[in-house]
């Protein structure tokens, strides 16, 4: 047998987890780009460094985003990946597919690209990895024909995503999938034509379990919640207890607010609904017995992002509760106000959270017209360095004097 050209990568064919190397090697037999992608990756494994570089801006007609241009810095050695751009294709809400649709995608990407994909990218897009500049437009045309459109990249709205929500989860307090779809369609222009200071991400989770990790990664997080009481099926609670669940230890004692109590004799769960902060723990532990209340809506949080530049932020509450029913106008209006303020005030590459940090939450709230609420903070300020608005003072406002 001939010596392998990818001895290092071959090591990744071992072991029980699905091997992308095995998978790629098969496709490499009919796809030179995959062959070269493996070759260049093997080189990276040897050199311990990447071999991709920036290049000119590439894209499709009418759009400013959706394509990540990529060029090899060893294109002479691996000519079939000299150009190796990625297309980001907007996934259907909740990542649901028919095999028919998936096969269409595969055929398109076999025809116009390397045949390599990611299901999915971290933002949520279908990632079609590796094609050449001249295939971008044809690929896009074919995608469009099949009913697919590109997602976001660059300084625009990024592809929104949502947890599985009402499609398969009993706890969804909002229609995550519909909100995601509706917003994506409403904001097609913002998604496809970068015109902002930086990226803006939007994720929608149906309840505080946040199965789409919104709070950590979305400039605006929409998290389903409820205003009334958890509903309890007392009989089902008893069944859990009878079935061996140590309700006191595993559920009641771990309630963070002390809202729960347990009558061991009667096997009865007590709940002070006004103390509950809707952390989901008890519901998670006894899905057959407990479920969210009926007065449903969402908590909105702003500013989540990764490390660069100011360090990572988790999102911050800005609207404790908003009802969310189609056509979601209140949410859309708020988004527009947020974008307007951010667009006007931010520096290049300043995420909205960083701008709020720089300008102060008070400026933000006033600019977008949201009332301050104690739910916005874990605790109020410890320093005395706060500002007064002119109209709050006796005599001339402070802007006039001095």
């Amino acid at each position: 047998m001939a010596e392998s050209r990818t001895p290092l990568l071959d090591e990744l064919e071992k072991g029980p987890w699905p091997s992308f190397v095995t998978d790629m090697k098969k496709l490499a037999q009919r796809k030179p780009a995959v062959q070269d992608a493996l070759g260049q990756l093997e080189m990276s494994y040897r050199d311990k460094k990447g071999h991709w570089k920036h290049g000119g801006i590439v894209g499709v007609r009418g759009y400013g985003g959706g394509v990540i241009g990529r060029y090899s810095d060893v294109g002479d050695v691996f000519p079939n990946v000299a150009e190796f751009h990625t297309m980001r294709v907007n996934q259907p809400s909740g990542w649901f597919y028919t095999t028919e649709k998936l096969r269409q995608l595969c055929d398109i990407w076999e025809a116009y690209g390397s045949g390599l994909t990611n299901f999915h990218g971290s933002t949520g897009d279908i990632i079609l990895l590796g094609t050449v500049t001249q295939n971008l437009q044809p690929a896009f045309d074919a995608l469009s024909e099949a009913g697919f459109d590109l997602g976001g990249s660059g300084s625009d709205l990024r592809t929104p995503s949502a947890c599985v929500g009402p499609a398969r989860c009993e706890w969804a307090c909002i229609d995550t999938l519909d909100i995601c779809h509706d917003l994506t369609n409403t904001f097609q222009d913002e998604l496809h034509r970068p015109m902002w200071p930086y990226k803006f991400k939007l994720k929608i989770a149906g309840c505080p379990n946040d199965c789409v990790a919104a709070v950590a990664r979305a400039d605006l997080s929409v998290i389903g919640t409820w205003r009334d009481s958890i509903r309890i099926d007392r009989e089902a609670v008893r069944e859990y207890a009878d079935g061996g669940l140590d309700v006191e230890r595993a559920v009641v004692n771990r309630c963070p607010t002390g809202a729960l109590s347990w009558n061991a004799e009667k096997k009865e769960l007590g709940l002070k609904a006004e103390e509950c902060n809707r952390c989901m723990h008890c519901i998670n532990m006894m899905p057959k017995a407990l479920c969210p209340g009926v007065e449903r809506g969402a908590t909105l949080l702003i500013g989540g992002k990764a490390t660069i530049l100011q360090t990572a932020f988790l999102s911050w509450v800005i609207v404790p509760f908003m009802k969310l029913e189609p056509p979601y106008e209140e949410l859309k209006d708020l988004l527009r106000r947020i974008w307007e303020w951010w667009d006007e005030n931010a520096k290049t590459r300043e995420r909205v959270g960083e701008l709020i940090y720089r300008k102060g939450m008070r400026e933000f709230l006033r600019a977008v017209g949201l009332p301050p609420a104690p739910q916005m903070v874990f605790r109020p300020r410890a320093n005395p360095y706060y500002f007064w608005w002119p109209e709050e003072l006796e005599g001339n406002g402070h802007k006039e004097q001095g």
Partner: protein, 352 residues
């Protein structure tokens, strides 16, 4: 002519009939066994979801194989999860066992539900990105091979979410994962002045540095780096290819622990530095996989039932964590960036 701005396919067209009919009216679920969920609707209808691990980086052939299975057992319906697993949506109860059998034959991992390790959120690495300090798919494969038993079983104290990002941009929710690997550089960029002067916008480049380490060098129409202030984030390289940050000798992987995003019991938490550096050792990163396994197991051994990684550490205290995990504590662990102060211990209370 292609149409623009048509948006994504309508998700409702992708839903199996039982989901369409019971949309928003699910009542409860059970985990029948690792990787197999049963959701029951108010109507009594059921759907079975079989969760299968995926490499995420897949060829169209692999996707077609998935489709074949979905056609055979799921009437052509399936989904992917927010952590890149495949979920076969089985409407016919009788097809669950045959599907599981075929998956087993094919050697596809079924699991990732409940108190398990699910798939790793990860990023491009050397397969496609231009800023990585380490690979993506390769380490994931090595780590998941090693932790396989925890994917296909639910024997951990709680969910354990592992993630990897190949550079400090941290594409993914790496900064809030139970265990997170991050590719890091350890030396300031080497400046190629001709590239900087020709290809880069100097003011944007200067503004890109989180520690204000970059200042103009007007003579060369380029920049200089104050090496004392540079912490090798590579953001300047993202902005300008003349700021060569990659360094095979010193690049590697850092490990953070204790993050979460759910609100269950405790608020979302950031992951925090556990191991400042491990070397890049392709193809299987033995130091990294060993370290991750050790981190998994020290938690599994010591945490209380139902206690996520960060919840466990916050209960016992980080000083005790470093002891139990046998990780030396260094000056790197002490924050010195913007929000350092609230992490300093302002109390005489701690464990020896």
């Amino acid at each position: 002519m292609s149409r623009t701005d048509i948006g994504p396919p309508y998700f409702k067209d992708m839903l199996p009939p039982v989901i369409k009919e019971n949309y928003g009216r699910w009542k409860y679920h059970e985990i029948l066994r690792p990787g197999v969920l049963r959701h029951v609707a108010e109507s009594g209808a059921e759907i079975y979801s079989v969760r299968v691990g995926s490499a995420r980086l897949m060829t169209v052939d692999r996707v077609r194989e998935i489709c074949d299975l979905a056609d055979k057992y799921c009437d052509g319906y399936l989904r992917f999860t927010s952590r890149h697993n495949i979920e076969f949506l089985v409407s016919d109860k009788n097809k669950v066992e045959p599907l599981l059998r075929e998956l087993k034959e094919k050697g596809w991992p079924v699991g990732g539900t409940g108190n398990s390790i699910s798939n790793m959120i990860h990023t491009q690495g050397w397969i496609h990105c231009h800023t990585p300090a380490t690979d993506g798919s390769g380490i994931v494969k090595a780590v998941m091979d090693d932790l396989y038993e925890y994917f296909v079983d639910m024997k951990l104290p709680a969910k354990l979410r592992i993630a990897l990002a190949c550079c400090l941009n941290m594409c993914g929710a790496v900064h809030c994962s139970d265990i997170a690997m991050v590719g890091i550089h350890r030396k300031p960029p080497v400046i190629e002045h001709d590239i900087v002067s020709k290809q880069c916008e100097i003011p944007t480049l200067i503004a890109s540095c989180p520690t204000a380490a970059i200042r103009p060098n007007p003579k060369l129409k380029s920049v200089e780096v104050n090496e004392e202030r540079c912490m090798y984030c590579g953001n300047c390289y993202t902005m300008c290819p003349g700021m060569k940050i990659a360094d095979p000798e010193n690049d590697g992987v850092a490990i953070f622990v204790g993050g979460k995003v759910s609100n269950a019991r405790t608020p979302p938490m950031f992951s925090r530095l556990a191991i400042p550096y491990l070397p890049n050792n392709p193809p299987r990163w033995p130091e990294v996989t060993a370290a991750v396994r050790k981190l998994v197991e020290v938690w599994a051994r010591n945490a209380r039932q139902g206690e996520r990684y960060g919840e466990w550490i916050e209960r016992i205290g980080w000083e005790r964590f470093f002891e139990l995990a046998e990780i030396p504590f260094t000056d790197k662990h002490i924050d010195d960036f913007t929000f350092a102060i609230p992490t300093f211990r302002t109390a005489a209370t701690f464990k020896w």
